[in-house]
């Protein structure tokens, strides 16, 4: 498999404002390999890739492509050297057609400046055929699934004859079957001699698709090698600097009284006939593929969506919830998914984000007391190990894991009996993930009722007492946490199996 290195970064140093973020990092990518770049948030992966993509200059070191030293001063130069960067947030324009997106910025025109639509469509078709997919170049991108949008980015890279494609967490927003499709595609690309740098937190995926790996920790190279020779534990250890258990985190313990009872909740097009109960101290997990309706279900329960039918009983009282405010009053809290869109207020400071939903706790005579807020934040900073020097900076300056901890602190401060976590560890590194799991478990031990929504079965298996699997808006199975395997969950989540009897 080993061929000559296509791209080499030698002894790269980089510091921002005197803080060293990369220290003598060396990184090779061979031709036609899929190379995993691993490390926790803040390890320096993005900085390294931004240097390669021409976004940031480096302080010391050199970059070679095909053995020749190159200077990549801007993203355009990177593209000319055959390097394409596919960011986590996809840069496709939903309101344009597929071919228009493909040729955005490099449209083929006649000499009078008119567009050559047929030629562009034809070229689009050629590339899409090469990737083994069948979409109409004239389809609007907004009508496509997310994985196809990713595909358009990849096709764009191929259109520019890229030799090296950097993919930053490409599977975050993909459902399992879409991930499969992406991996197939990556393998095709590999066969045709294209190299891929693959950044992800999902080690299982990496094992499945990558040939080699490089691990960074705190800006330093801590290991690299061939994927086949290494097991995941060793790599995890390299990433976090300590070993992390994959065992279930929860103990068997007795639950308290019933706090939540949901009966026949339905919302046309999203979910139907949902019934379940939740007790104090219980952690219930809801899992399934993307689009299984679990997010819509709990957004309805939380009053964000209003068009549903069915009964919700909280503490044995029938409750009508049509606004999040009422949900909070009734004792529900929600840590939403997609932190950036749904949870953080990026222009508010870290402290103000923490206090946003419980401002009454910090008021005296109708005025907010900065001191009280600050003291309270200090408490959560220690309790949740939030890493921030100055909590008055806006929250978008923090890493994903720390942002999530602030949001969790926000809901701990509200102190509701029931807390719903939707995809609580999305885009968070392993160390912070563990911390969040422990927090969730300790919440349950304190007598809170917890609901976890996640598409990652291992996560659900790790921390849930009761697991509900959803498929196309219905609960298709429910298990005790310790009595089920990942494979079983998957067979219900994909709809290949279905529990015959009604779940009580």
């Amino acid at each position: 498999m080993t061929t000559s290195p296509f791209m080499t970064m030698n002894n790269i140093d980089k510091s921002f404002n005197g803080v060293s973020v990369l220290k003598k990092v060396t990184f090779h990518v061979a031709q036609g390999e899929i190379h995993a770049l691993l490390g926790e948030n803040g390890a320096g992966k993005s900085t390294l890739m931004n240097i390669l993509g021409g976004v940031h200059p480096f302080d010391n070191g050199s970059i070679q492509i095909n053995g020749e030293e190159v200077k990549i001063t801007n993203p355009r130069a990177a593209q000319e050297y055959g390097i394409s960067f596919i960011h986590q947030e996809l840069n496709v324009v939903s309101d344009l057609r597929v071919y228009e997106n493909m040729f955005l910025g490099s449209e083929i025109r006649t000499r009078y400046g008119f567009l050559k639509v047929d030629e562009m469509c034809q070229k689009t078709n050629e590339i899409l055929a090469k990737l083994g997919v069948d979409i109409d170049p004239k389809e609007y991108v907004r009508n496509l699934e997310t994985s196809y949008k990713q595909l358009i980015e990849i096709s764009k890279a191929l259109l520019h004859k890229s030799k090296l494609i950097i993919m930053d967490e490409p599977t975050t927003s993909l459902a399992d079957h879409e991930v499969k499709r992406l991996f197939g595609l990556m393998n095709n690309l590999k066969q045709s001699g294209v190299s891929i740098i693959y950044i992800s937190h999902k080690l299982k995926e990496i094992k499945e698709v990558c040939d080699r790996y490089t691990v960074l920790r705190d800006g330093e190279l801590v290991g690299n090698g061939s994927m086949e020779e290494e097991n995941l534990d060793t790599i995890t250890k390299l990433m976090v600097g300590k070993s992390i258990s994959q065992e279930r985190l929860i103990q068997k313990h007795t639950f308290g009284s019933e706090v939540l009872e949901v009966n026949n909740l339905s919302s046309p097009g999203s979910f139907s006939n949902i019934s379940f109960t939740l007790k104090k101290g219980e952690i219930a997990g809801f899992t399934g593929l993307a689009g299984d309706g679990r997010t819509e279900l709990f957004e309805s329960l939380f009053g964000y969506r209003k068009t549903y039918t069915g009964d919700i009983k909280i503490n044995n009282q029938l409750t009508k919830i049509d606004h999040p405010r009422k949900a909070v009053k009734a004792g529900l809290g929600l840590v939403p998914k997609d932190r950036k869109e749904n949870a953080i207020i990026k222009d508010l400071s870290v402290i103000h984000n923490m206090s946003l939903s419980s401002i009454g706790h910090f008021e005296r005579m109708a005025f907010i007391q900065d001191k009280l807020e600050k003291e309270r934040f200090q408490y959560y900073k220690e309790k949740l190990n939030i890493k921030v020097h100055n909590p008055r900076v806006t929250i978008d300056k923090l890493s994903g894991g720390n942002q999530q901890k602030v949001i969790i602190a926000k809901w701990l401060e509200v102190d509701t009996d029931i807390i719903i976590f939707d995809n609580p560890t999305q885009g968070i590194d392993i160390g912070a993930k563990q911390e969040i799991y422990h927090q969730i478990v300790s919440l349950a031990e304190q007598g809170k009722a917890v609901v976890i929504l996640s598409s990652e079965a291992p996560e659900i298996l790790k921390i849930c007492h009761q697991i509900y699997v959803m498929f196309q808006g219905e609960i298709t199975a429910s298990f005790k946490g310790e009595e089920v395997t990942e494979d079983e969950i998957m067979s219900y989540a994909t709809g290949s199996k279905r529990e015959a009897n009604e779940i009580g």
Binding site: R325, L334, P336, N342, D347, I359, F367
Partner: protein, 325 residues
């Protein structure tokens, strides 16, 4: 008086991170710009620093200043209010009618507050409940309010017939005319409201990320209605001053382009068009910058027809500088 105390407490909150120049610039660019323009003005015209001239500037900006405070709140919430000038006229006309009909200044002032708040409340209902873009909703209000004012006053001016009414805008306390004092008090009150109360916090949150604000259990609709109502109330205060100053209001020519001046002051003050970011203090200095520019051009005998050009230039320069962060 608890208000002044909490204002003092606020002061140290701004300065603990002192240090980097870039930070100073990004936080206080409008104050720095103000100082530069102030110094330039005093060099260019010796009469500029004259105490009477300084007070004159403050007097001239007080009406737009009060309107701009309301505009800042609206824009922080992610909206815009184009109706301020027209609502000002409508409030002025109705206030004079009430004044003349009842002979009571208090009833006139109360009427003004009610009409202004109702107009703002309607804007808020359209934006929050009707889900109409604020630009469109307030554009409609702008046309409608002006039209009603013209209809009531039959296209002309109407004047007050109660002698004490002009005192509001024309009397003074020591050397300060009442409008200046009202403007300063309003600035302090709005500052406290936006930075020390939950209402202010919620407005920022909604302007920055409405969905996250709703999911944080904030009553987004109510806050928005409150924002527009408050802007309307501030407009009515400005309307009282405007009407009282000359003891009359013209349904056709008063309040014209006030929305543009107010928006300009807010933008120069560093508030982001899309909301969530900006400061009341910024707007205060934005208003002063516009006032000094107008004053300078008058002192230097620049044609009034060219003053709009200079104003336009300043707005664009201000936005260009803010983009750099």
């Amino acid at each position: 008086m608890a208000d002044t105390n909490s204002l003092k407490e606020q002061k140290p909150q701004i300065s603990p991170i002192k240090g980097k120049l870039s930070w100073l610039w990004s936080e206080y660019s409008v104050i720095i710009a103000f100082i530069i323009i102030f110094i330039a003005a005093s060099v260019l015209s010796p009469r500029f620093l004259d105490m009477n001239n300084q007070l004159n500037i403050l007097m001239q900006v007080s009406i737009i200043g009060i309107v701009a405070l309301g505009m800042t709140i609206v824009m922080l919430s992610g909206g815009i209010d184009l109706s301020v000038g027209s609502v000002l006229v409508l409030v002025g006309v109705v206030t004079v009618l009430a004044l003349n009909a009842t002979g009571s200044i208090w009833i006139a002032v109360l009427t003004a507050f009610i009409v202004g708040s109702i107009a703002g409340f309607l804007n808020g209902i359209m934006v929050a409940k009707g889900r109409i873009a604020s630009f469109i909703a307030t554009l409609g209000m702008m046309a409608a309010a002006r039209s009603i004012a013209l209809y009531i006053a039959e296209g002309g001016s109407i004047s007050g017939e109660v002698s004490g009414f002009t005192a509001i805008a024309n009397n003074n306390l020591w050397i300060f005319d009442y409008p200046i004092i009202i403007f300063l008090i309003m600035t302090v009150l709005v500052y406290i409201l936006m930075h020390k109360t939950r209402f202010g916090r919620h407005v920022y949150a909604i302007g920055s990320n409405e969905k996250a604000a709703l999911l944080s259990a904030i009553r987004v609709d109510r806050i928005k209605i409150g924002v527009y109502s408050l802007a309307g109330l501030l407009v009515s205060i400005a309307a009282i001053i405007e009407t009282s100053r000359l003891n009359s209001i013209s349904s056709s020519s008063s309040g014209v382009q006030y929305e543009l001046d107010a928006i300009a002051a807010v933008i120069i003050g560093g508030t982001r068009m899309t909301g969530g970011r900006g400061k009341i203090i910024g707007t205060f200095f934005g208003v002063l910058i516009l006032g000094i520019l107008n004053n300078m051009m008058n002192l230097m005998n620049v044609s009034p027809h060219l003053q709009g050009f200079v104003k336009g230039l300043i707005i664009i320069i201000a936005v260009v500088f803010q983009k750099r962060e």
